[in-house]
Structures are given as C-alpha cells and as structure tokens.
Amino acid sequence: MTNTLTIERTSANADAPKPATRRRKPNDRAPWEEPPTPVGQAAKGLTLGVVLLIMVVPLWIVVVTSLSTQAAVTRAGGLVIWPDGITFEAYKVMLEDVTVRNALLVSLGITAVGTLVSMAVSIMCAYGLSRSRSFAHRFLLTLLIVTMFVNGGLIPTFLVVTGLGGYGAWWSLILPSAISVFNILVLRAFYSSTSTDLIEAARIDGAGDWRILWSIVMPTSRAVTAVIALFYGVGYWNAFFNVMLYMPTDSEKWPLQYVLLTYVNRGNGMPGSINSGFGTAFSQTAPLSLQMAVVVLTLVPLLIVYPFVQKHFRTGVLTGAIKG
C-alpha cells in the first residue's frame, strides 16, 4: 500500500518566513521551455474549462432549482437553470418536516460520535504502532495489514453484528466500520517521523506516553489529523448501506442519505404520508425544489468543512510506501 497523500507537517517554525531565494517563482516559465502556441493555450484552456463545467454545472442547477418558486419550476418545465424568482420556501418546508429533521439530527449525531470514536481509536493505535519498542509491535502491525487483503465479507460480518445484538442498535452504524487500516497506517507514517530526540527528551523529563502523544506528537501533525478526520467524517455522513442492513424498517432512525435515496432518488411516497409533513409537503409545494433542497442539505456540511481541510491535500513526493 502506498500513501498517496503527502500532507505538510505543521512544524514549530511553520510561521517562519519562507527562504527568500526561490529558484524561480512558480508562475514563471523555465528558461528552456518554449513559449506556448496560441492554439495550444486555447485547447488547454478549453479542456480545463469543460472539465470544470462538468463538475460545477450540475451542482449549480440543483442549487438554483432548490431556490426556485413553484411558478419558476413550472415555467422551466423541470429543473431551473437561470435564477427566476428566488425563494427559500422549499427549505422552510423541508426543515419543518419531521422526517427530514430527524434524519438531519441522526446524520449529524452519527457523524460526530463516529468521527470522535474513529479518531480516538486510530490515533491511539497509530501512536502505539509508531513506537517501535512497543509491545508486540510487528505482530500487531501484521494483524492490521492482513485485514486489508482478507476479510470475511458481507454475510459473516452481518451475522457477527446481528449476533451481538446490533440489529436496530445505533452502534451497528458506527463500530463495524469505525477503523480504516489505511488511515491508521497514514497516521502511523506521520507519527513515526516525529523527532525521536524530542520524544526521548520528554521521556527523560518524566512524560508518559499519553502526555507525549497529546503534547508532542499530535500538535506536530495537525494537518494529517484534519485530513483523516475528514475521511472518517465523510464516510459516516455518506453511509447508507449499513442502514439498509441493520435498520431497514426503523424510519425514525434513518440518516439523511437514506431519506434522500428513498424519497428523492427512488421517488417513493412516504409511509403514512397523510400524517407526515413530508408527504403533505410533496403534494402541496414545489416537489422538485423540495427534492433539490434535500440534495443541497446533504451537501452543506461537506461544503462547510471542505475548504478548511482541502488546503492540506498538498501534493508532494510520494511518502515511502507503507510496508509491513
């Protein structure tokens, strides 16, 4: 396995000014490179532009439609491409709906608790494995890596989880997928490269492992912590198959993704739609804008967090392959 992400280490002197003598500014052409031809430039710009449009236009249409009035949706005969009568009506209806509100709370709760559990367990494990003198360290590392290639598969896992009473229990949405060995190995690679001198010095001063992890190792690896937390968080936020497995009938426990799948993607009516707000909402206001509002709702948390973490996806050299 290779760690494809190189994440910049936050070091003690991160704020120190960068050395003034750069070889060349990144925006300058190297002296030996030919000046670009206009045709080449245009082709390049056009290709990148089209790529960006393919990514952005669908999101734009979804957002605009979710903000449109019923009249605008009717005029457009479906999805709205240009804003034409902006209203937050769909969002108001959506947030007043019991199903969606429930699902939002469930999703936020599972994501928050799950990410905390995953991070705590992974950080501890990665730190333990990064100290090469720790107990049974080679053996445990092998134990971890084996699971990347060999696993029981869907049904044995399902039987174990339900055998432990996981059917319908909240923990079944968190614990079975709480750790990703890949993420632990990425963390471990970072912790292994923390200066041993610093750690030895702290140990002589009487710091225990917890203290070292908390005050030395973690502060120097904030960027990687943020990225791994995003990976875990996105995993929990996006999960829906575990709901299908472990609580397919408890519609009160459904997270947002499952609501999106059931009522938007599959277009199913709500069970007992007379009593549920969503059902009546579907029949009274702009259904399409309401559906698109649910789509946007599943996007919002990601869009809030993404910009803060995205800057850490620095691409650099491949850090050495993580080997067993």
Binding site: T4, P156, I179, D209
Partner: protein, 286 residues
C-alpha cells in the same frame, strides 16, 4: 494503546473470517453458527450451477474491463494537463473543484446524474424542447456499463490525479533542462522523461486495479438495480446481498463471498508477480 483498535479488528474483521464456515453449512439463523448442519461443498455446487451467479461474474469482469479502458487513462491525462498550467492559483482552484465529487455519497452522485440525464432530467428536457427525441440512459441496461463508468469518472477521476501530480512533482527538472538543451521538443520530453517518470505509479495502480478486478463498486449498483434490472446491474458484491441476506439464504451468499475473496487474493498475487516481472515494486519489494 493499540488495544481498542485490535479489539475492533478482532470482533469485526477476524471473527467474520471464522464466520466463513457458514459457506460450508446449511446455516439456520435459529440455531446459530455452532449448531447449523455442515453441508460440505453443496453451496458451491449450487453456486456454480446458477446462471444468475455467472451473470454477476460476467457483469463484474465486463465492468472492470470497461473501467480499465475508459477510466484509467483520464486521471493521467488530467494530471499532465494540470501540471502544464503555470499559474499556481489556477491550479489550486481547479484541484479543489475536481477533488470535491470524491467526497459525495453515491446516493448524491446518482441523484445528480438522474436529474441531469434521466428521463425527466435536464438533458432530455432540452432534447424534447428541440424535438430531437429523448435519450434514456439511466434505465437502459444495454448502456449501463457506460453510464456506471461515466459516473465513476465524474466522481473519482479528479481525486485520482493526486497521486500522479505527486509523481510529476518528483521528476527532476534538470532532466527537462538537459533534454531541451539537446533539442528535444515538448512532445519528446513528455514521451522520454515525463511518462517514464510516471511508470512506477502507473504500474502500481494497474496492479491494484487488476488485483481488484472483482470489486467494481457496490453502492452504485445497489442504488441503480431497480432502474436497469438485475441482468445488467448484478455484480459479485451485490450478489451476496440479494441472494444471501435479502432472501435469508445466508450460506449461499457467504459461499459467493468466499469465492470472490479467494479469486481476488489470487489476482492480487498474480498482478504483483506481473509487476515484478516488469521490474517494478508492485505492492511490496521482492
């Protein structure tokens, strides 16, 4: 400190390995794994005589092949293109946009596809308004492989460039300078310096792709099976779910899962051998 993680692995990864014994049983949920009668290889005999199973195998391999041909080169091309953009600011902007869909859920991605390309979606609306007829790709089993691959490209191709950008940044610029001084044009430099510089990564990813040839994604097929039908959308991973869990025929599904795991291990091992034969590292050094 490794204890909590090890416990989780033992319970949710290693215990299921022993649970694979259900594949050789006639598992009965009422009596549990310990008391279910053994069935030897009966489940496998059923499996190998089941046309639905072979359909899933065929779909899996076909989809793997289509993705290899259509998806694999795109991140490489995109990374090369992006790498040639000089302005750091534009590069950062494009990167942050193309990485984003990787973090979307499949439910979300497919909903977006449905809204854009589906029967009531934006594209068909446009086609109808201009009397060009309709183009129904979301529910057509014949073009399902292309649809799925397009979805994977939309969602993952941007994220896929990270590893290639990293490899590109690691190529020594002195090589380019020397080649330019010797009169090599941009295309020759691309061919003789850039692509050889990417060789290691490309081989590694090919090995992984071949080793995972039986894993073509799961949620994507689960969500779209209703729309295109099981003939086109059943793959090995969903087979275990639909013919194991959904029908309560646990041993049968476990047998299908075990079959897939064993073949996958062989594929990874074989692909790795292949990489070594090409003089590359593969997953681990020889």
């Amino acid at each position: 400190m490794t204890l909590p993680a090890v416990v989780l692995l033992l319970v949710f990864n290693y215990a299921p390995l022993f649970g694979l014994i259900t594949a050789f049983q006639e598992y009965d949920p009422l009596v549990g794994v310990w008391n279910s009668p053994l069935a030897g290889f009966d489940q496998f005999e059923r499996l190998f005589g089941d046309p639905l199973f072979w359909g899933a195998v065929r779909n899996t391999l076909y989809l793997s092949f289509v993705q290899l041909i259509l998806f694999f080169p795109i991140p490489i091309a995109l990374a090369l293109l992006l790498n040639s953009v000089l302005s750091q600011r534009i590069r950062n902007f494009i990167q942050s946009v193309v990485y984003l869909p990787h973090f979307f859920s499949w439910v979300l991605a497919i909903t977006i596809f449905q809204q854009m390309l589906g029967g009531a979606g934006a594209l068909n609306h446009f086609l109808r308004n201009n009397d060009i007829g309709t183009w129904d790709i979301m529910t057509n089993p014949d073009t399902f492989a292309l649809l799925v691959t397009a979805q994977v490209i939309w969602k993952e191709a941007g994220w896929g460039i990270i590893v290639f950008l990293a490899a590109l940044a690691a190529i020594n610029t002195d090589l380019y300078e020397a080649a330019a001084a010797d009169g090599a044009g941009p295309w020759r430099r691309l061919w003789h310096i850039t692509l050889p510089g990417l060789r290691g990564v490309i081989v590694l990813l090919l090995v992984l792709r071949l080793g995972n040839a039986l894993s073509v994604g799961f949620e994507q097929f689960l969500i779209q099976r209703n729309a295109v039908g099981h003939d086109a959308a059943d793959v090995l991973d969903t087979f275990s779910f639909y013919y194991g869990i959904a029908t309560g025929d646990y041993s049968y599904g476990a047998a299908a899962g075990l079959f897939k795991s064993v073949i996958s291990l062989l594929l990874i091992w074989g692909a790795n051998k292949l990489a070594h034969a090409f003089g590359e590292d593969g997953l681990y050094r020889k």
